[in-house]
């Protein structure tokens, strides 16, 4: 199994304010890895640092190549897709245009076929293909954001708090679809989530982040049975 993503001693923050204090994490090909933590722990910052959206120090490699210090638009071309927090939809473009622009880095002829495929997987999007994305509900926009990310046929998909602002039922359905899709496409997932229950249900491994450092890590089963983790994040 190839090591797809590896971060060592990742530190970073916003201007004067440091948020990450040396994160080590790895993601192997085909895995579903989650990063858990409460608000303010640094989860989103971690993803942004991995993607080049903020300045960071340490070491980050993707598929063997060092990507630290590169711009997001370059990193994405290597096969990474990022669904940002808050969906990051192109609110002024139509659903169809959102999907099309998701395939921006691709030059092959199968873009149309892919779009049809995602319309089939997410029928709600098909219904609204000519609608302005900004007018859709949160759940629909999340679907769109995920579909858009998938359009680039990424090897690694990063998701930032996909459940935020969504009703639990919708999120569960979304997560299930996500897992299916990732198995079909042999895709690797790195999910950052506050909702530990949902996340651990679909994950292979996980990390727990607190105040910018990793405090626990292990397989999903290990984390679920870890008493401290259970009390703090799973509620029982």
């Amino acid at each position: 199994m190839t090591r797809l993503l590896e971060a060592t001693g990742l530190t970073g923050g916003y201007g004067q304010i440091q948020v990450l204090f040396g994160i080590d994490l790895t993601v192997d090909e085909g895995e579903v890895v989650v990063v858990l933590g409460a608000n303010g722990a640094g989860k989103t910052t971690t993803l942004r640092a991995l993607c080049g959206m903020i300045q960071a120090k340490g070491a980050v490699t993707f598929d063997g190549q060092s990507i630290l210090g590169r711009k997001p638009e370059e990193i994405v071309r290597l096969g990474v897709a990022h669904v940002p927090q808050g969906r990051g939809t192109f609110a002024d473009l139509t659903v169809e245009e959102n999907l099309r622009v998701g395939a921006y880095v691709r030059t092959d002829a199968e873009i149309g076929a892919d779009m049809d495929r995602w319309y089939t997987t997410f029928p709600r999007l098909a219904e609204r293909r000519e609608q302005i994305a900004g007018n859709m509900s949160g759940g629909e926009q999340q679907m769109l954001a995920i579909a858009r990310a998938l359009m680039s046929r990424p090897r690694l998909l990063l998701l930032d708090e996909p459940s935020l602002g969504l009703a639990p039922l919708i999120t569960r359905g979304l997560f299930e679809q996500l897992t299916e899709v990732s198995r079909e496409m042999a895709m690797t997932l790195l999910i950052v989530e506050q909702n530990a229950n949902l996340a651990l249900d679909i994950a292979d491994r996980g990390y727990v982040l607190e105040a910018g450092t990793i405090v626990t890590s292990g397989t999903a089963a290990e984390l679920k049975s870890d008493e401290a983790v259970r009390k703090a994040y799973l509620g029982y």
């Binding site: 711009k71 997001p72 940002p84 939809t89 192109f90 002024d92 473009l93 245009e97 622009v101 880095v105």
Partner: protein, 295 residues
């Protein structure tokens, strides 16, 4: 009735000029989300470049084309070297406005310094007019209107039907997400500025050609009319810029003609009041999209 038609034609002619500059303003806004206060003076600079090329022997049309090419490069360079270091539009819009004001000052003074502030003669493209029976229209005006239509067509094709256009619209909608799909945002911004500068160069040169004189004060007042046009039409709509320009042109000429109290001096005040009204009543203009304010 004849007077009305005459005024209408004059108004359309003036409006077409406003539309030319308004189009450049809208382009910058669409691709970068900025109001570029230096647009007029940049166009002025390009117009002087056109004049200089003509002085050096180039025919009018070629001079304009070369000037447009230079303007594209210049606009892109300005985005890269001057605008981008200041920050992005979402967080630093005030700083960027100030920078464009700085550019406004700099370009205007540079023009005066390089070429002097005396008026230059600018060759007219067409001297003949078309007789429509009830009124006459100059070929100059018709050419400008044709150019406007052509520009609209090209812009529509580029923005709606090409990958480049989609990328530019994506950038203006959400620049962060644009990076996440691999769009090189910096290049898109440069392209937007270059394109707007090109449109401005064309507009300025046509304007000078219509007036036949060229001096540093050409664009200052025109800028306000162009802003009024873009405001009325909607800042993110090229069609709005053209329609808005024509309406502003006709309305101000009519107002000047029929309401004698307004007179030549207050035409601009009229445009100003128009801007104020549109921004309070319907800020997105006639064709613009309503701003989705994200909480």
């Amino acid at each position: 009735m004849e007077l009305f038609l005459d005024r209408l034609v004059i108004g359309l002619g003036q409006g077409a000029i406003y539309a030319l500059l308004a189009l450049a303003l809208v382009l910058i806004y669409r691709s970068t989300g900025l109001l570029n206060f230096a647009q007029g003076e940049m166009a002025l600079f390009s117009t002087y470049v056109t004049w200089q090329l003509i002085e050096w022997g180039l025919p009018l049309a070629l001079a304009i084309l070369v000037s447009m090419g230079l303007a594209f490069l210049g606009g892109a360079a300005i985005e890269r070297a001057i605008i981008r270091p200041v920050g992005d539009v979402e967080h630093n819009s005030l700083s960027i406005v100030i920078v464009t004001i700085g550019l406004f000052l700099a370009f205007n003074a540079l023009v005066g310094w390089i070429w002097g502030s005396d008026g230059k003669i600018f060759p007219k493209a067409f001297t003949s007019t078309l007789d429509l029976g009830v009124t006459t229209v100059s070929w100059q005006t018709l050419t400008i209107l044709l150019v406007l239509v052509a520009e609209l067509a090209v812009l529509f094709l580029v923005f709606q039907k090409t990958k480049l256009g989609l990328a530019m619209r994506a950038v203006s909608s959400n620049s962060e997400s644009s990076r996440l799909v691999g769009i090189r945002v910096g290049r898109m911004l440069m392209f937007g500025w270059g394109l707007a500068a090109t449109v401005g160069a064309l507009g300025g040169s046509l304007y000078a050609s219509q007036l036949t004189t060229l001096d540093p004060s050409l664009m200052a007042v025109l800028l306000i009319y162009a802003f009024a046009a873009a405001t009325l039409g909607g800042f993110d709509s090229p069609l709005g810029a053209v329609v808005g320009g024509l309406i502003v042109g006709v309305v101000t000429v009519m107002a000047e003609g029929y309401i004698s109290w307004i007179g030549g001096d207050l035409k601009l005040a009229f445009a100003f009041v128009l801007i104020l009204i549109v921004l309070t009543v319907r800020p997105q203009g006639l064709f613009g999209k309503e701003q989705v304010t994200r909480v």
